[in-house]
Amino acid sequence: MEFLLPVLTFFPLLAALVLLLIPARAEGTLKNAALLLGLVEFALSIPLFTGFAPAVAGMQFLVDLDWIPLWGVSFKMGVDGISLFLVLLTTFLLPLTILGTWNAVEHKVKGYLILFFLLTTGMIGVFVSLDLFLFYVFWEITLIPMYFLIGIWGGPRRIYAAVKFFLFTMAGSVLMLIAILFVYWTTSVDGHHTFDLLLILEHFRASGSTQTWLFAAFALAFAIKVPMFPLHTWLPDAHVEAPTGGSVILAGVLLKMGTYGFLRFAMPMFPAGLKALLPLLIALCVIGILYGAWLSIAQSDVKKLVAYSSVSHLGFVMLGLFALTPEGVTGGILQMINHGISTGALFLAVGVIYERRHTRKIADFGGLAKVMPVYAVILSIVCLSSIGLPGTNGFTGEFLILLGAFKTQPWAAGISATGVIFAAVYILWMYQRVMFGPVTHEVNEKLKDLSAREFIVFLPLLVLIFWIGVYPDPFLERIGPAVEQILSTIRTS
């Protein structure tokens, strides 16, 4: 138990090495092994949930080893209520994505699976690192596998999309690197400099204007990743070109690295900077919510529609975080999980019809409900959860966010609430055009409904959609104390 976090982080790396030893021709063996290893990773993460003490606010499962002592770099990992569910989301989506995209990748299966596991190591590392150096390492590590996943297995404009993704993220991390170095040299603990986040939170002091600059430097890196308007332009390209599995992980987990970064690093480290830039950030959230929704309405490609809806949904998450009230932040964290589940499911659902028809244009479908009834039911549930219908997970999250935001940012919350209506417009309209009406294309008449494999993939996602929608308490009680602690750090300094 003590070393659970390093095990969770590096098991996927080990899994990648195992896959490396299997010959590339044995595709069946490769896929089975990958699924098994993914399930093992998920099983390993269950003790993280059961062993987690809900009432404790601080870091749990703490690991603190020296790494480069001369530079004050430590190998420090831990989880609290915020990162706990992001780690679980990652390990949960890993086997599901492998199973869900079983036949989606037709060539170079081996490389695809290996990169998937490498990416998982990077993502979990980001969520559990409590040392700025370690965090930065994992943050950058996630770039390489994603670059290849988009670049090799992507659509026709994949190279453009991969390079754009890479350069946007790198450009964002440049300023963060400098801010990290500045914090390092200005924080002195007993005469030593340190990258240890917990020590920095305790000892770092800077004037208001310095904090504003530092916050802006961190915020740029995270805002690109989230992505917040107007830094979102890489996202639709990356999503449209990425293979289904890449999209699921990109929307489900990678974007949360940005929102998580705000909450874990930028906001508590530089509260004065946060306060100075808050009006701007709130305005960008509101614009992102509405703009993303409007663009979604106009899309003719289902995948692009879902991609722009992510911009809108992530705007909600950020609004919740910037509300700086317990309800808002808790809602924001819950909504990160919800978005991972719902949008992950949406991308998998898009993948299902793409595998059958090799097109994602809304106009190429119509009347699928008659041909694929099971698929129609599942997609409707996923769509409703994405809109936030009461009884589904989306409702709980968005409700908490708006509740929290009304307290401190009534205007922003009021305008953003209309985003929920627009979400209904684009999602339901898309659903109507794809599912209802007569079957307009002959090819669509013979489409097969969901296979047993595909059904099994959606099942756990549906369970979670209703579980969080009806009984979110097991989630909220674990998130709550950590949120209180972060908010008190922001308030006191």
Binding site: I152, I178, Y184
Partner: protein, 461 residues
Amino acid sequence: MPAWLPEALIFFSLVFLLLQESFAGERGVTPLLAWGAQALALFCLPFLPGEASLLGGSFLLHPQALLFKAIFLLSALVCTLYAVERPNPDREGRIRGEFLMTLQASLLGAMVLVSAGDLITLLIGLELATLPAVALSAWARRNPQSGEGGLKYVLLAALSSALLLFGFALLIGLSGSLALEAPARPLPLQGLVLALLLAGAGFKLSLPPFHLWAADVYQGAPTPVAIWLSTASKAAGLAFLFQLLQGPLAGALPDMLPLLALLAVLAMSLGNLVAVLQQNLKRFMAYSSISQAGYLLLGLLDGWSDAGLAAMLYYMLVYVIGNLVVFGVILERERDCGATEIEDFRGLIRLRPGLATAMLLGLLSLAGIPPLAGFTGKWFLFAQAAAGGWYWVVLLAAVNSTISLYYYLRIVRQMFIEVDGDLPVRGDGGTRAGRIIAAGTVAICLAGILPWLYEGMRGML
């Protein structure tokens, strides 16, 4: 062990190579004489005394010199092994006795340079390191580009030597001493002396505006020689700069910082921007190495400190290993398909997966992507510059890292992504060079994760 043992080994190996060629003919030369001596000398280094002074203080041994010698010997060893492994006489000239002897001479010069205790020894070391390298770069007699590169190199080397000599003459004349130490009182014309000496060091390090020779020489020179120039010869330039900064220029360092910062920024930006446009991999690596020299200078910006010195030496070593890997792959491809255009690397992952993976890791290390050694090295350098308060330089360096990533990825793209259609020749592979490349790749990965290498270097200084 006597402090002069490594130099003696290299010297005797040089003499024996010469004699063997004279008596046994070219075919009778055993390359073992060359690389065996280098390996033995490398093996001796840990057992040498930490501090020693020979020949009345002209030849000094200290930890810094030891570390530099390790870098020189390592890259000489790898160059020799690369060179003698199925050479390509058309493109590289004949790689036997004379070639190996000339390489040993250049190595000997570099080793004397770092141990020099006075100005004369320093100058002799520098010239002994440079002039054989000039000859080597023109070695491929049937390749006109090689001759062109060699000619450019010899002209500019002569110019830089002239400037340096003038600088040394002024220094010796005005201070009245041959000692490698800061003048007791401020000299007249100090600015001129400083400029002249800096120009000499800048030439060796290929810092703009003294970089003009690099691209043509790298492209034209036989690839093993390009490796030598980009690794050991560059390290020798850094060592020369260190000798100056610890010696005659010691007092002037604080005033020089803005100039060094400017040179660093110029080197990074120019190297990176021009590298984006290159089609030939050897030219590309020339510009990449110009920009890497710029990053190296960041370690000087906090003034002179052990931490900065360790950061620079660590990065130098990491850079050398990265270059040995990348150039090793280039050399393999050159011998397989006879060219070094970026095009020739298309689809390498399908042709030679091992080589492609090594190249990927080498390039990413040079670009500074974690968890590879290049990342840690760059981080230390950036942190060192930040410690001196040079945040704007760090900013530009980080922006440059992003640009550099763009062009390193161009090659990665060719190797991994554009793999359809007709691919270049596969080649046979299976040489010992592959093993060296593999070892270097493993070193790059491990050095980034395990801190021992850096800690060991820091502990020595």
